[in-house]
């Protein structure tokens, strides 16, 4: 039956697992570290349908609809995406499922690419939804099938939780054939699918019953596994931390949980009785620990482990075994924070905003990097879409003159995600602020995914492209201006004019992400004889440019993408084009 063993990224393995489990519909919004699940579903498009939705709420509702219709369905998102989807989540928990329904949610301990470190298990407990958690790529694939079986057997939507380290690590998986799951018949049952008070009241009773049944069943499920070794140290753990436990404490007995909500109380109490000292090793919040303690089982957890960041085997060696690490001290080295790429159109926009001494209410995307020196334009970053609405709040707090040196900046994908609602609010509530949509024709930060305005679907088919300027006009914005991000003069003039107006303006800088253009790129160089070493070209902070001790400026020809921003800024003609490109 098994075909072969291959190496797969955690996310790739989940996609394969969904294929093998007979999933028929998937909807998602990109979000690191969950994005590659959906991207990898495309290779199975003959067997299952996968789409990008404009946001996680829409995606989850699409999946719910498919489940109601009787097929196995899924939605994928990052932890903060689940917040956007929490409205349908809490209610589908009451409804239960027809076809199996699983939400794949990726947490980001260590904040590699997120605005907070929230723990999805807490949300799942609040919504009373079961949570499955794998420890490597192999389990990531195999547990998907188990998640659907639990979903259908117990009539529960299931959260399949991963973390960055699981999602973005590769490991071996064994491939199996797809099981064709017969569609469940759709039978009209409004008591189960129309969540008005009278019905929901009864469903609440029903799901409590289902949860109790599941809480009993998890005591004997094979994905909750006891590994008895030496009994001096016992550890309850799950997910990636299981691997750190195995590295640091190879002799310890381990209770490895594959399902972390609800917890297998009997199994845990029995395991606890067999070991001398019991630890709970879980990244982020003390979700397992607090429940175990509430049963009166003595266990050591966050007294010695942190609630922040990722764990490691070295951390456990230090905290549990009190070992000194056999490693040199880290050297002093200047930091290398992430930056806008050479040739990024956002740099040009931020250069202009910086020059005009404007503040920006920012949003979620590559352009968040406009917060750091030398551009230092972005003052706030909260969540998807918040740039526009928070600018509106500032105006209502302090009046229209106060925001004449502010703009909101948001990307095209983020604008369609939730920003558009905030723009509606500005128009409805008589705002006067200026919104800049930095339209780079893609969802950039997550690695270039299509969206509702790119004209292409996740599965690669051409489709209708929403016209963002027309959308803004339809909302009622009179001042909608499109400008090339690299046309410094027009951009500066436009921004000055629009922020001065007592009306809402939307400035769209429509210039594609530099990483999207595959053709030959132009190249610039500095002509030493003409260079006055004034440093004007260095102001936007292009990483392809370096300045030597003597002030000489050099353009790295392996990094320059030929955007020409430095050339536009040089008053002495000291930067010349040495190679024409395709654009």
């Amino acid at each position: 039956m098994s075909e072969r063993k291959v190496i797969m990224l955690g996310n790739e393995a989940i996609a394969r697992g969904a294929y093998e489990a007979g999933v028929k519909v998937s909807a998602s919004y990109p979000g690191t570290p969950s994005t590659e699940i959906s991207e990898n579903l495309v290779q199975y498009k003959d067997a299952l349908y996968a789409e990008w939705a404009p946001n996680e709420k829409v995606a989850t509702e699409v999946a719910i609809g498919a489940s109601v219709a009787g097929v196995r369905a899924m939605a994928c998102m990052k932890h903060v995406g689940l917040n956007v989807a929490s409205d349908p989540l809490y209610t589908v928990s009451y409804m239960g499922v027809n076809g199996g329904l699983v939400l794949f949610v990726a947490d980001d301990p260590g904040l590699y690419s997120s605005q907070n470190e929230q723990d999805t298990r807490m949300v799942a407990r609040a919504a009373q939804v079961p949570v499955i958690e794998p420890s490597d790529s192999g389990e990531a694939k195999d547990y998907v099938k188990i998640a659907y079986e639990i979903s259908e057997q117990f009539d529960r939507p299931v959260i399949f939780r991963t973390t960055t380290r699981l999602a973005h690590s590769q490991g071996l998986v064994e491939l199996y054939d797809r099981i064709e799951v017969e569609d469940k018949p759709y039978v009209k049952n409004v008591q189960k699918t129309v969540m008005m008070p009278g019905n929901a009241k009864l469903r609440h009773v029903e799901i409590e019953k289902r949860n109790l049944e599941l809480a009993e069943a998890v005591n004997t499920m094979s994905i909750n596994r006891v590994e008895m070794r030496d009994t001096q140290i016992g550890v309850i753990t799950s997910g990636i931390p299981y691997q750190y436990v195995r590295e640091a404490l190879p002799e310890a007995s381990v209770l490895k949980l594959g399902i972390v909500n609800p917890l297998p109380r009997k199994l845990i109490e029995e395991f606890a009785s067999k070991v001398d000292t019991l630890y709970v090793v879980e990244e982020l919040d003390p979700v397992i620990e607090e429940q175990v303690k509430s049963w009166g089982v003595p266990v050591i957890g966050k007294e010695i482990f942190t609630v922040q960041g990722e764990y490691s085997a070295n951390m456990l060696r230090t905290a549990i075994l009190k070992q000194e690490l056999d490693a040199a001290k880290p050297a002093q080295a200047p930091g290398r924070p992430p930056i806008l790429c050479p040739g990024c159109p956002h740099r040009s926009v931020y250069y202009v905003l910086n020059k005009l001494k404007l503040h920006a209410a920012g949003d979620i995307g590559c352009y968040t990097l406009g917060a750091v020196a030398p551009l230092s334009v972005v003052d706030t970053t909260i969540c998807m879409g918040a740039s526009i609405s928070s600018l509106h709040g500032m105006e209502k707090a302090k009046g229209k003159e106060y925001i004449k040196n502010w703009v909101a900046v948001i990307g095209d994908s983020t604008f369609l995600h939730t920003g558009v609602n905030s723009l509606m609010n500005m128009m409805y509530n008589k705002a006067t602020g200026t919104v800049m949509i930095l339209d780079n024709s893609t969802t950039g930060m997550t690695g270039h995914q299509d969206h509702a305005a790119t004209g292409k679907t996740l599965q690669g088919d051409p489709t209708w492209a929403i016209n963002i300027p027309e959308l803004c006009r339809a909302i009622g914005v009179k001042n909608v201006i499109e400008v090339n991000a690299f046309d410094l003069e027009t951009l500066e003039r436009t921004v000055k004019e629009e922020v001065a107006k007592d009306e809402v303006s939307v400035i769209i800088t429509k210039t594609p992400c530099v990483l999207l253009t595959k053709g030959k790129k132009p190249l610039y160089r500095v002509v030493p004889d003409k260079c006055k070493k004034c440093g004007m070209c260095m102001k936007p902070g292009c990483p392809a440019m370096t300045r030597a001790e003597d002030g000489t400026i050099r353009i790295d020809d392996t990094m320059c993408t030929g955007c020409g921003l430095c050339d536009s800024l040089c008053k002495f003609g000291a930067i010349e084009l040495v190679k024409e490109g395709d654009r």
């Binding site: 490693a327 992430p338 590559c366 392996t558």
Partner: protein, 189 residues
């Protein structure tokens, strides 16, 4: 055998991901259990990037921790300095002798350290090559990773044929020959 721990560090966009995938493919081809850990998303955008490759009879964690790397491959000098303490005492530090200024240096808020390689040689076994210049000599500046990888291959237990085979399987078909040439430059240093 105990798991072999390889770590690849560089600047986002330098191709650490491709290099770790070549290494992973190589170890699988040799029949080992393999785990790789990568960095995607914001951290990738020109920032300091780390990927890990571990292989052996059985591998648990997908990361390499401080004091455990057998080979540290650095595509840039400052990144070699930043992560050198991940090496084992007898580990090999393979460095592309190349400088990319991080933003704090570009804007004058920090100094790029002088004499990094000399400093590292006091503690570690350092093998360096200016792979970026060597790659330009080949006419394909993007192949510098393979030159560095060739140099690192001298400190790993795979044959040239095994390396060739994985290069053929991993890089785009049009670039196979040039990537093999680049690998040879590093391998024969």
């Amino acid at each position: 055998m105990a798991a072999k721990n390889i770590m690849i560090v560089g600047v986002g966009g330098q191709g650490t991901l491709l290099t770790s995938r070549i290494l992973g493919g190589l170890a699988i081809g040799a029949g080992y259990d393999v785990k790789l850990s990568e960095v995607h998303g914001m951290a990738q955008r020109g920032g300091s990037v780390v990927t890990f490759v571990r292989y052996g009879e059985e591998v648990a964690e997908p990361i390499v921790e401080e004091g455990q790397a057998d080979v540290l491959i650095a595509f840039e000098r400052l990144e070699a300095l930043r992560y050198a303490h991940f090496l084992k005492k007898d580990g090999a530090l393979v460095v592309n002798d190349w400088r990319i200024d991080p933003m704090p240096v570009v804007i004058g808020a920090a100094q790029y350290p002088e004499g990094i390689l000399e400093q590292l040689r006091e503690t570690y076994s350092v093998y360096s090559v200016n792979a970026t210049d060597e790659a330009k000599k080949l006419g394909y500046s993007r192949t510098f990773n393979l030159i560095v990888l060739g140099l690192a291959a001298q400190h790993m237990d795979f044959t040239r044929e095994q390396w060739y085979e994985v290069i053929e399987r991993t890089v785009p078909p049009k670039t196979v020959e040039i990537n093999k040439q680049a690998f040879d430059v590093g391998y024969s240093l």
